[in-house]
């Protein structure tokens, strides 16, 4: 069989016939390129992890993102300053003071909060909002897109026209209005609002993926073998739709963080009593002119690092989760 793998048997000179034969046989087996793979064929997630590890930008991105997650989760507990206690600075300076040993990111103007303390707290909340809102958006988007793509017909038409008309609205302004009047500065309601308006893209994506997957020969093969609808959805369609969904969710976290920062910066989002990266920036805007750059720079940099990290990670995931990609 010409297409099967197998290195030619190594010649073993100076041995009796049978020994040489057995040795050649063993050598051939061990020399064949798939000897190890045959013994333990790797699962798809393991293969994806291998590809991800080889993706340099993805590793850099994940490192950045992870650093920020750790800063956000652990930071608030190990900071010597408390968000809920008005600071008593040793030197009163209403313009705030620049980075120094005791306050590496400097102090804000007016009340002289420690900027590092604000940034770790803001990072925590921004990440939480980003992840939660993206999960809500993904769940809604997957359900709507899944129904639309799998069942098709008039249901698909109605759902997609709804999505189309929602997409024509200037979404950011709608979110501004909603967060102002329904959000009332509460971070959880802001999260839910972002989740409820962020599913449109994911719904379209899932629908498109399912529409093409539905036509795949392997789905027909399963149908032709009498495999039921539910099993086709969960064993054939969903696993193959999963990687674009994961990638879209990851990237949407970055989108929500930026969106929330934007809304909060304008003063419509989360209230100042719970700092997010956006509303820290919002507070800083009128003192930048006085030379208090650190109040704006560090939270701004935190946003850049998080978003960059997530985007690199997303690109790496996209490549890693493609089963056709080479290791």
């Amino acid at each position: 069989m010409g297409e099967q793998n197998g290195a030619p048997a190594a010649s073993a000179a100076g041995e009796s016939g049978e020994d040489a034969y057995i040795r050649a046989e063993v050598e051939e087996l061990e020399a064949s390129p798939d000897y190890d793979v045959a013994l333990e064929s790797l699962g798809q997630w393991e293969l994806a992890w291998r590809r991800f590890r080889k993706h340099r930008m993805a590793i850099v991105g994940s490192a950045l993102f992870l650093t920020m997650v750790i800063a956000g989760v652990v930071g608030p507990f190990i900071m010597p300053f408390d968000l809920y206690k008005i600071p008593y600075p040793d030197i009163i300076d209403s313009f705030g003071r620049g980075p120094m040993l005791t306050h590496p990111f400097g102090e804000t103007a007016r009340l002289q909060w420690d900027v590092l303390m604000l940034v770790v707290n803001g990072t925590r909340l921004s990440l939480l909002i980003g992840v939660l809102a993206s999960l809500i958006a993904t769940i809604i988007g997957t359900i709507v897109g899944g129904i639309s793509g799998y069942f098709g017909g008039w249901l698909d038409t109605i759902l997609m026209r709804i999505v189309d008309s929602l997409l024509t609205l200037p979404l950011l302004f709608i979110v501004l209005v909603f967060t102002k009047f329904l959000g009332s500065g509460n971070w959880l309601s802001v999260t839910i609002i972002f989740g409820l308006f962020g599913w449109l893209g994911i719904a379209r994506l899932v629908r498109a993926v399912l529409l093409s997957l539905r036509e795949e020969d392997y789905v027909d093969a399963a149908r032709a073998a009498g495999v039921g609808n539910l099993r086709i959805i969960f064993r054939h369609l969903m696993p193959n739709a999963l990687s674009p969904i994961i990638v879209a969710t990851t990237l949407s976290v970055a989108g929500v963080i930026i969106g929330e920062a934007f809304v909060s910066f304008l003063g419509f989002g989360v209230g100042p009593e719970t700092p997010t990266l956006g509303n820290i920036l919002s507070g800083s805007q009128d003192t930048i002119i006085n030379g208090n750059w650190w109040w704006a720079f560090f939270p701004g940099a935190a946003i850049v690092v998080i978003v960059l990290g997530i985007n690199f990670m997303g690109d790496g995931l996209r490549d890693a989760l493609d089963p056709r990609a080479k290791i």
């Binding site: 099967q4 793979v37 045959a38 073998a225 009498g226 064993r235």
Partner: protein
């Protein structure tokens, strides 16, 4: 192995030669929808009133241009497409009306091999699941396929049947070559112990050197498992090599059905003659006249009146464009020996110069022991 092309005689099996599938007036139309309310404004007649029989144990080859309805016909038999009309009888029952448990049981008996060895295997499943899934769906108390162990054993057995190693079951599709993937597809179909296999251009996506391996494998398996094939291809040499009987389709209609040797030696339909004249000959010294059809295949949404082929028919031209061709749809006529033709002037074909040229080239090759499998 035996030479399938010359084995038109019934096989050893007692019920060989009896019809396994009786296809009667089968129609599969696709609606064309337009406007906001998706109103149906017409139909694409992919398969339009096709009747023929597939005998037990035979390989029925189906040829025709792209888009003539070969694949749709097969998919309708598989119950993957909704038929618009007609009947398909298996053991005297119309399988197009099957539902629920009947349909599920039918699915085990009728299996499919796809054209694309990449798209037909789920990239996220190991081979054991790809083959085992059908077994699980078809599990009964008698076959014990609900047990993972039984399924795995059967999967391994059938991997060996198609010439692969047992332990390949643990691998994923991307770890295989095109030929190996096609073997997996064959193993998946055969593991269910089917009687009838629809092979939808099973070799056209493969490398030429692999094509013959897969064809020979399919021939061997037919004998080993008493299979009946409906073999769709647009490579005429491949069809000649593997088939016992051949049907020629044009624009949703079956225009000619005959034993393979008869069809290739004495084509009776002008379209078949034109098709055969396009088969390349490996001998460069052979000069043959090619019958080039003019124009494109008409749209199956608006097929021509009368005989569907009349707009491009060379015979009609030679006969001075008789009116009958464009007004009357020719019914299939038996020309003797089960050779069926749907042409008003089939008798004229054998007398025409064009047909003689074809017969001179094609006829001797039908008897050759090993016809070269080449891309048409």
């Amino acid at each position: 192995m035996t030479q399938p092309a010359s084995s038109a005689q019934p096989q050893a099996s007692p019920d060989a030669g009896r019809p396994l599938l009786e296809i009667e007036h089968l129609k599969t139309y696709y609606p064309i929808r337009a406007g906001i309310v998706r109103r149906t404004v017409g139909h694409v007649k992919a398969v339009d009133d096709v009747s023929f029989q597939i005998r037990k144990g035979e390989v029925f080859g189906l040829v025709g241009e792209s888009g003539c309805g070969k694949t749709t016909l097969g998919r309708t038999l598989l119950r993957l497409e909704k038929p618009t009309g007609g009947e398909v009888k298996m053991d005297g029952r119309n399988i197009l009306a099957f539902k629920g448990n009947d349909l599920k049981a039918l699915r085990r008996r009728i299996q499919v091999i796809f054209q694309d060895p990449v798209g037909s295997l789920n990239p996220r499943m190991p081979v054991s699941d790809i083959i085992g899934e059908g077994l699980m769906a078809q599990a009964t108390p008698e076959n014990g396929w609900s047990e993972r162990k039984t399924r795995d054993r059967r999967t391994g057995d059938f991997l060996e049947v198609v010439g692969l190693r047992r332990d390949y079951a643990r691998r994923y599709p991307h770890e295989f070559s095109g030929g190996q993937r096609q073997r997996i597809g064959i193993a998946r179909a055969l593991a269910l112990d089917p009687e009838f296999v629809f092979a939808d251009e099973p070799v056209s996506a493969l490398d030429v050197s692999i094509q013959s391996q897969i064809l020979n494998l399919m021939s061997d398996l037919r004998e080993q498992f008493n299979l009946t094939y409906l073999f769709v291809a647009h490579n005429l040499s491949v069809v000649q090599y593997i088939s016992d009987r051949v049907g020629v389709m044009y624009l949703g209609k079956l225009v000619e059905v005959a034993d393979v040797a008869d069809l290739y030696a004495h084509p009776r339909h002008p379209y078949t003659v034109a098709l055969l004249s396009a088969v390349p000959d490996p001998d460069p010294r052979v000069r043959k006249k090619r019958l080039v059809l003019h124009g494109d295949v008409p749209s199956p949404a608006k097929p021509p009146t009368g005989c569907r082929f009349h707009t491009r028919c060379w015979l009609r031209e030679q006969l001075g464009n008789p009116e009958r061709c464009s007004t009357e749809d020719p019914a299939a006529r038996d020309m003797g020996g089960g050779h069926q033709v749907a042409c008003h002037f089939a008798e004229q074909v054998s007398r025409s110069v064009a047909a003689e040229t074809i017969q001179g080239v094609i006829a001797p090759r039908a008897q050759e022991p090993n016809p070269v499998v080449a891309e048409a």
